[in-house]
């Protein structure tokens, strides 16, 4: 029964659109026209939630992409004699091409430079449309022929409402499925925690490109749907001002879920109609309203509704937020199949990780100076040293986030230095982060599922559809993720939002995410920084257990020396870029050279 409820949540937005069609059955034709255009706006809003909300990419090109879809479809019917439905396919291609084109330079930039790139696309596109009179009718525009579907020519507003509504609902459903499935999750991870995402196999640029392409396809589709009803296409109605108004849809509606697109798109599109009584003051009201909403309701209208629902009552909140909440995680239970627990193996002599004479310069600073260390299979090895000793640089080189200037690193016999960070998970290396880098907007379960590493763009898209049909993440993914959460002591938090956890629990979550792919080596970056002594002790026990149960080697960088001494079997000490000592913790810490490193020339009395 819980499975069926999830399906419903995903179809929610699409069903809402169908409801709008139903609502339009009994009203006059002008209202039907308004509803139809509102539905088109809803589709654009949903598409922009994917791009602006999830991928956090600003775009000023939406107007031109709608134009491309509208013109492509119209020209296909006019010049190629294609049937309407086929022409829609051409609009989809036009959108995909536009999205890809914008993403080529676009994914290199963020912020205002990205806005500029999209502005260039928008302006050049419209100018070209306006200039190509031979093709597009230029500034005069072209008449859009009536849409004929399966021999039935659509002329009435009701007909348009049904046609637009059904097709928009279908596309919205696809967007919702993608948004709520692994594709949407990985996209959010990529946009919010680039480094952590790459560490777990998420190709950030690939996902951002896909976000551009997917949203552009939907926006172009919306343009093509609206075209026959608008009847006359002229380039100026798709100008920069239009792009700005479209950009407002997700921001006013709420950027985290499709419902934001619905509320923002539908609401803002209908607003002018509601403001008709004030006629001339329409635009002023509109603009002021947008400003007020963004100033006082940073989460948009969906946030406003959520707060309102919370005030109304618990049951209201439950249902409403379940429907509105972004990608509500699957809420059923499944017994976690515990992986077989091997007896703790004695340390083997073979070296899992071999770091030899690694060098790194930052201008004049010799950050890492011919550093070498070795981590045997199944070992727990520590790396300590005062500030500026080079531990972090060496650590980042090993995890793939910093290029080395010299030396070599071997992992299980494979050379590691030339491998991209996101490919290291496949070899069996995962990591945690000093500033805990969980994907805050996702549930714990989703965090760990991403940790599995099967995060290719196309793979994730396919998995999104699987998830929709099954009503939940795939059985295997769920099992493995829950087992990992269980190992970390977080089984009961599977549905909680990662961002809401305490720091200690977030560190456990990072561990669960790091072990779910059954790696051979985990790189731990200051795993107890900022936690209380009690939590540090719990984490220490957890690490020891994980190491024993799953034979996972660990390399731990830490400042908390008592912690490291009780966790690691061997230690390397770094100072001024070099490894100055290596051996068992008790021995190493007592060395005068090490004491000097921390306390200066005279050392403590």
């Amino acid at each position: 029964m819980s499975d069926r409820r999830l399906d419903l949540a995903a179809t929610g937005p699409a069903l809402f659109i169908i409801l709008c069609i139903a609502a339009g059955l009994g009203v006059d034709s002008y209202s039907q026209y308004v509803i139809a255009l509102a539905i088109v706006a809803i589709l654009v809003g949903a598409a922009l939630v994917v791009l602006v909300g999830l991928a956090r990419c600003i775009t000023l090109a939406s107007g031109s992409i709608m134009a491309l879809g509208a013109y492509a479809s119209t020209l296909a019917v006019l010049d190629l004699g294609a049937p309407y439905l086929v022409s829609l396919l051409l609009a989809l291609f036009a959108g995909a091409a536009a999205g890809w084109l914008i993403a080529l330079p676009g994914t290199r930039f963020r912020g205002h430079n990205l806005a500029m790139v999209t502005l260039v696309f928008q302006s050049v596109c419209i100018i070209l449309i306006r200039q190509s009179t031979w093709l597009t009718g230029g500034a005069e525009g072209i008449r859009v022929p009536s849409a004929t579907v399966f021999g039935w020519t659509i002329v009435s507003d009701l007909g348009f409402l049904v046609l637009i509504g059904v097709l928009a609902a279908a596309m919205t459903l696809i967007l919702t499925i993608l948004l709520r499935g692994p594709f949407g999750k990985c996209l959010q991870a990529a946009a919010n925690n680039e480094i952590a995402a790459e560490a777990f196999g998420v190709n950030v640029r690939g996902y951002l490109t896909a976000a551009f392409i997917v949203s552009s396809i939907a926006i172009a589709f919306a343009g093509a749907l609206a075209a026959p009803r608008i009847r006359i296409l002229d380039p100026d109605s798709f100008g920069i001002l239009e792009s700005i108004f479209l950009l407002a849809y997700p921001i006013v509606g709420g950027m985290q879920s499709v419902w934001g697109g619905l509320l923002g798109g539908g609401g803002l599109r209908i607003l002018p109609e509601l403001l008709r009584p004030v006629a001339d003051y329409q635009e002023l009201f509109y603009a002021t309203l947008v400003i007020v909403i963004v100033m006082f309701f940073p989460g948009g209208l969906t946030e406003l509704l959520r707060r309102g629902a919370a005030l109304i009552g618990r049951s209201g909140r439950g249902r409403l937020s379940k429907a509105i909440a972004p990608g509500t995680p699957w809420s059923g239970t499944i017994p976690a199949v515990a992986l077989p627990i091997p007896a703790p193996t004695p340390e083997r002599a073979e070296k899992l990780l071999l770091v030899e004479a690694v060098d790194k310069h930052f201008d004049a600073l010799h950050a890492v100076d011919a550093a070498s260390l070795a981590v045997p299979v199944g070992a727990i090895h520590g790396l300590i040293g005062p500030n500026g000793a080079g531990k972090t640089s060496l650590f980042n080189i090993i995890s793939g986030f910093l290029a080395a200037d010299g030396g070599r690193i071997e992992f299980a016999g494979e050379p590691l230095l030339d491998l991209r960070a996101r490919d290291r998970i496949r070899l069996g290396i995962t990591r945690t982060f000093q500033n805990v880098a969980v994907f805050g907007q996702l549930s714990c379960l989703d965090n760990v599922i991403i940790g599995r590493g099967c995060n290719g763009v196309v793979e994730a898209m396919g998995a999104s559809f699987d998830r929709f049909i099954a009503g939940a993440p795939t059985l295997q993914a769920r099992r493995e993720a829950l087992a990992a959460l269980d190992s970390a002591g977080l089984a009961d938090q599977a549905q909680s939002l990662a961002g809401a956890l305490s720091l200690g629990d977030q560190r456990r979550l990072e561990l669960a995410r790091a072990i779910v792919s059954s790696p051979k080596l985990i790189l731990l970056d200051e795993p107890v920084s900022g936690v209380s002594e009690a939590e540090a002790e719990e984490l220490r026990q957890l690490l020891l257990r994980i190491n024993a149960e799953r034979t996972i080697a660990m390399l731990v960088v830490e400042h908390n020396i008592p912690f490291v001494a009780r966790l690691c079997r061997t230690l390397s000490v770094m100072g001024a870029g070099r490894v100055v000592a290596e051996g068992k913790p008790a021995e190493v810490i007592a060395l005068p050279t090490v004491r000097q490193l921390y306390f200066g020339e005279e050392g403590p009395a």
Binding site: P105, H112, V124
Partner: protein, 292 residues
């Protein structure tokens, strides 16, 4: 050939000087506060409109426009920083973009509602015979716009770079924490930056009013040109803003003359694109010392 090129370049420099002022206003605000004020064009439009009121409606002397309007718009801008932007200091970039964009729209609408005509004409400050330089005609007001706007822009950059006023803004632009530790208050500096941005926008408006007339389109045209010029020049570089503005004006004029008037915007945008891809820091960025 020179006789042909001359007027084109002059026209380019004239618009370029105005773009320089517009870009400078944007850059100053962004440098100090890290936000782009998309209502900047609307401020310029208000300045142009105020110019119409002073010169045409109320028949005051022209110099009153140049003297009174920039600080007035500056005050409006500072008030907006205080009332609206201060609340949005912790908001994400999208929210600030939308807020300032729609603020610009609201202001433009406000103007349109007050004065329902399409275009308001404003006379030039100088009438009289044009000058002839090297066989090229330069009208008096063209010369005024070029010298006046450029002088104002350069003067502003000098003030920014040398003066005590600019020091706080530059310090905050360079290192917010360091600036606070010197005693500079974020609230004061941000409001000052917006004031200065408003002054520059108002001034640009007064210069542009006789050239293009006053209309709602002005608000979009100025922000677009200012933004593009700023990025081309280097968005955190005041001198880049001036040079970028001039470059944009000249490029537009050349394309309008030798390609087509319709394509001139296209070419400007392509120029912008090339700069973004090849030198994203801009063509004339601030020279920064490398830290040791």
């Amino acid at each position: 050939m020179l006789a042909e090129l001359g007027p084109v370049l002059i026209a380019g420099i004239k618009f370029g000087a105005i773009y320089a002022l517009a870009a400078l206003g944007l850059v100053v605000v962004h440098k100090a506060t890290k936000t782009v004020n998309f209502a900047h064009g609307a401020f310029a439009m208000l300045g142009a409109f105020a110019s119409f009121l002073i010169v045409v409606r109320w028949q005051w002397p022209y110099w009153a426009a140049y003297l009174l309007i920039p600080p007035a718009i500056g005050l409006v801008a500072a008030a907006i920083e205080f009332l609206i932007l201060r609340r949005l200091r912790r908001a994400d970039m999208f929210t600030v973009v939308i807020a300032t964009v729609f603020l610009g729209i609201a202001l433009a609408e406000g103007f349109r509602l007050t004065y329902n005509t399409e275009l308001l004409a404003v006379p030039s400050p100088f009438a009289g015979a044009p000058f002839v330089v090297g066989g090229v005609y330069i009208t008096r007001d063209t010369l005024w716009v070029i010298t006046g706007a450029l002088l104002a822009a350069v003067g502003c950059v000098i003030l920014f770079r040398r003066g005590k006023l600019g020091r706080g803004m530059r310090a905050m632009a360079s290192n917010i924490r360091g600036a606070q530790l010197c005693g500079y208050s974020i609230d004061h500096i941000y409001m000052l930056a917006w004031f200065l941005g408003g002054v520059l926008a108002g001034l640009a408006g007064v210069f542009i009013a006789p050239v293009t007339g006053v209309s709602v389109d002005l608000s979009i045209a100025v922000i677009t040109a200012g933004f593009v010029a700023g990025v081309i020049g280097g968005f955190d570089s005041p001198r880049g803003a001036i040079l970028g503005g001039l470059l944009l004006g000249i490029a537009e004029s050349l394309s309008a003359a030798y390609v087509s008037s319709a394509m001139k915007n296209c070419i400007s945008f392509l120029l912008l694109f090339v700069v973004l891809m090849w030198r994203p820091q801009g063509l004339f960025p601030e020279r920064t010392a490398r830290s040791v």
